[in-house]
Point group: C2
Chain length 515, copies 2
């Protein structure tokens, strides 16, 4: 005789498995629509003829609406609600348990924000983007100011949808770094900032290294070919992706097996194409490494923007700007550009690509100064959200902090507070992910070097399989199963920490600038 | 005082205008989803990495389903039903009246076919396609035969959804040529066939022209550049479209202002890239010429496949293979390929590109023999649908007719009945559009020459604006407002007629082969 309870349990399980399948079917359809929308955006930036923009706007609008409507349907809420108790009986690290957790979190976020607000936010940021372009063009902050005031106001309203919160900035951060708190980020950066400022001052007192050889004429196709040779060695799989050119490089995917990076080539400066390709290659390799079992679910994504950035920064900087790397690849680069590098030796080249120089523009900053650009933005954003800083005082606050951290002051707002697109798009909370990505990259790097003692030798021989294997196993395959702090802790034993990055900078630049 | 009746009428009109707007909104969303799906298909054939196919299948499936569900919704049926009486009060040639007529026709077709049938048709043709590939590879018709039997059976079932009909083949034709009847097509072709067979026999008795100079090595990029220079002159607008390479050339659009053609380059044969580009350019120029007022409606399309083909064939053949054209462009081609054409004069080149030679493969056929390949297929399809021919007898019937029309017999089924992909995809009713396109192109050509007496001189001077203006006004701008017969009658004064095409062939080849 089968006891009654077991039958009941079996039926319950079958019923729940059926509901889970229903939910997965809906999520798969949402993922399919989003994958299609990603292709439309990719095409817009790589191929679309200028006048195709209007129809493309309609098409992207239709797909976004459809994906949103499908995801926030009450049916989805009901399925999640029914399945959460069932999830408690599952292995908490299993795909299904994590899928339910992540889907529940996303669903709750989506339904908390009224669609009227979403529409208003879209309207305001569309206007703001145009105003920002004009303001930057004409070096006139006053043209952007009223728009930014509205955006800050809307972002404060947004935060209120998630009240109670510990800090008004938390809901913004959470959009890009699930589970990350303002307190945690501030603590990390406050430890880091004085050390980084000190390092840059010390470097400033040393003799500068040469990098003029990077500013010569480099043949277009050869720049692309060299970059692609490198990312092929890194492990990018060309039957599961491709590379194209775009004015503003990015990486996107339409599924785990169709991942596309883009590169911008500058004929008179080598850095853009090659380090840009290494960087986007890092993003792309991450996307290609997500477990196929997560395909067409909300877990088929990076863990967060910072974790994504840790992969791109690792392949760009910790690998791609390392001495070991160029021991192997510099002779190859010299074959690609024999005239340009005939008289430049490896040491000179290595120092040149690692030149440190405080500069006004974030996207052109070197490894040592980059994070300071981010910290400045983060602090200003937090003060704006807290109401401690008025938008009208922003240019002054920006310039004062530039002087304090980097020792230079913008002479125009175009080169200062107006330089980034993010705020005009309403993206407060985004910038810190760039710096967190740097920190995570160094933290992972220390652990990888522990686990693979011969890593340096492998890279000197152009062997990247060991590195890729480690990243695949500890980071990539998990997709968005774990929040960034949890993922980093699982991989390294501790939460996000600035010390490894500071150790990395100190050692590297100590050698280059003989500090 | 406003009389009661006027108020009533006003309210009725306002109400109807509101309903029309509702309908247009739904149709616009359907068009947006279809435009997105077209981009996914374009990318699949131009850019997609091999392993991207699985995700792409899911994405295309999702978009097709969504577009279908939105279009066949009962709400759409109700709006159409309410609006049809209102349409009767509109100018019958107005965009709105035609939109309602065409939408009503499409809606009725869509709801008449049960979704179970659509799924079964997709299943059978997916299997059939694989079987056809294998059968063609192995020259073994028996492997394809059972699949084709199922397809013919399904196509017969399909026809029954539209009973009563005049002829069982009519519903298939109507899919590609709205309003075209089997009787009309048969009559057109029966007049044409004996004349065309006779012409080819007469040519066969003359001395053959040389075309060996077309089979040399031609640099890849130069082939593309020359083709693009020509279609630019034709009137293709590059800010509203682009050109890429694809294994099987095609043209598609994602809106009137984003029209994309594709080209295949063969290094050792000039024809594929240049005449292919002229051909696809013709399709693309048609799509770019549709009136913007029709955007995002079912009218933003060609009038039919045959009318579309008339535009591609006109720019490929009536223009692109004419003596006038090469008077202007041959010196330019010689600049692109100086070594290849140094010793070939204009007359020799012109005759070479117009060489007539009965051959087994339709897609390689010249202008004079092409239609016979089509007629053969049309007759076999009609007999299959009528039940007068068994699928098992098809190879024999094919070969007998090849001998009768073209004087040659395939030695294998691979070069005979298995050569085309269409039947494996279930596309019975499609082939005749190719031949009808040829006929329409010549019919329009006679009228254009009447309306523009200096057309020959203009083309000799590389002037194509007069031609384009005529086509824009009489064909392109109307989109799918008129059925093909009506459109041709409006443009030329008579319905589709084979006489102009026969006059065109007789004159052209009479001169080339001195008949």
């Amino acid at each position: 005789m089968v006891p009654f309870k077991l039958i009941y349990f079996k039926e319950y399980t079958i019923n729940m498995e059926h509901k889970l399948k229903q939910l997965k079917n809906i999520l798969a359809e949402v993922a399919d629509i989003q994958g299609a929308a990603n292709l439309l955006e990719w095409d817009q930036q790589t191929n679309m003829p200028p006048k195709g923009a209007e129809a493309r706007g309609h098409q992207l609008g239709a797909l976004s609406r459809l994906a949103h409507i499908k995801f926030v349907a009450p049916e989805v809420g009901k399925l999640i609600e029914d399945l959460l108790p069932y999830a408690e009986g599952l292995d908490p690290d299993s795909d299904d348990a994590r899928l339910l957790e992540v889907t529940n979190r996303k669903y709750k976020k989506s339904v908390k924000v009224p669609s009227d607000f979403v529409a208003e936010f879209a309207r305001v940021t569309t206007m703001a983007h145009g105003a920002w372009e004009e303001a930057r063009e004409e070096n006139d902050f006053s043209k952007f100011q009223p728009h930014l005031e509205k955006i800050v106001d809307l972002d404060r309203q947004y935060a209120e949808f998630f009240a109670p919160y510990d800090h008004v900035y938390d809901p913004l951060l959470d959009t890009f770094e699930p589970g990350m708190s303002t307190t945690a980020v501030k603590k990390i950066f406050e430890e880091l900032r004085p050390q980084q400022v000190k390092l840059i001052q010390a470097i400033g007192e040393q003799e500068q290294v040469a990098d003029d050889f990077l500013y010569q004429e480099f043949e277009h196709q050869a720049q692309l070919d060299f970059g692609n040779e490198v990312i092929t060695k890194y492990g990018f799989e060309w039957d599961r992706g491709r590379q194209d050119e775009a004015a503003h490089p990015f990486t996107t995917s339409f599924g785990i097996d169709d991942v596309r990076l883009t590169t911008r080539v500058q004929l008179n400066h080598l850095n853009s194409a090659i380090f840009g390709t290494f960087h986007e290659g890092g993003h792309a390799i991450y996307e290609q490494g997500i477990a196929h079992s997560l395909a067409r679910t909300p877990l088929a994504d990076g863990a967060s923007l910072a974790v994504h950035e840790s992969q791109s920064r690792m392949y760009e900087n910790l690998v791609g700007r390392s001495y070991d790397f160029w021991v192997y690849f510099y002779p190859r680069l010299q074959e690609f550009f024999p005239n340009q590098f005939a008289k430049v030796n490896l040491e000179t080249f290595y120092k040149g690509i690692n030149k440190v120089e405080p500069s006004l523009i974030r996207v052109e900053a070197d490894e040592a100064t980059y994070n300071l650009h981010i910290m400045l933005r983060l602090e200003l954003e937090i003060e704006l959200m807290e109401g401690k800083l008025e938008v009208s005082d922003l240019p002054f606050a920006w310039n004062a902090r530039m002087e304090e951290y980097l020792g230079i002051t913008p002479t125009t707002d175009t080169e200062g507070v107006l330089q980034d697109v993010h705020w005009s798009s309403g993206l407060l909370g985004y910038f810190s992910t760039y710096a967190l990505g740097n920190l995570i990259s160094a933290q992972l790097w220390e652990k990888i070097n522990e686990d693979i003692p011969d890593l340096s030798g492998q890279i000197q021989s152009g062997e990247f399989a060991g590195l890729l294997g480690w990243l695949r196993k500890n980071i990539h395959c998990h997709g968005a199963k774990f929040k960034p702090q949890e993922l980093v802790k699982r991989a390294t034993g501790s939460e996000i920490d600035s010390a490894p990055y500071m150790r990395y900078l100190t050692k590297k630049y100590g050698e280059i600038y003989t500090l």
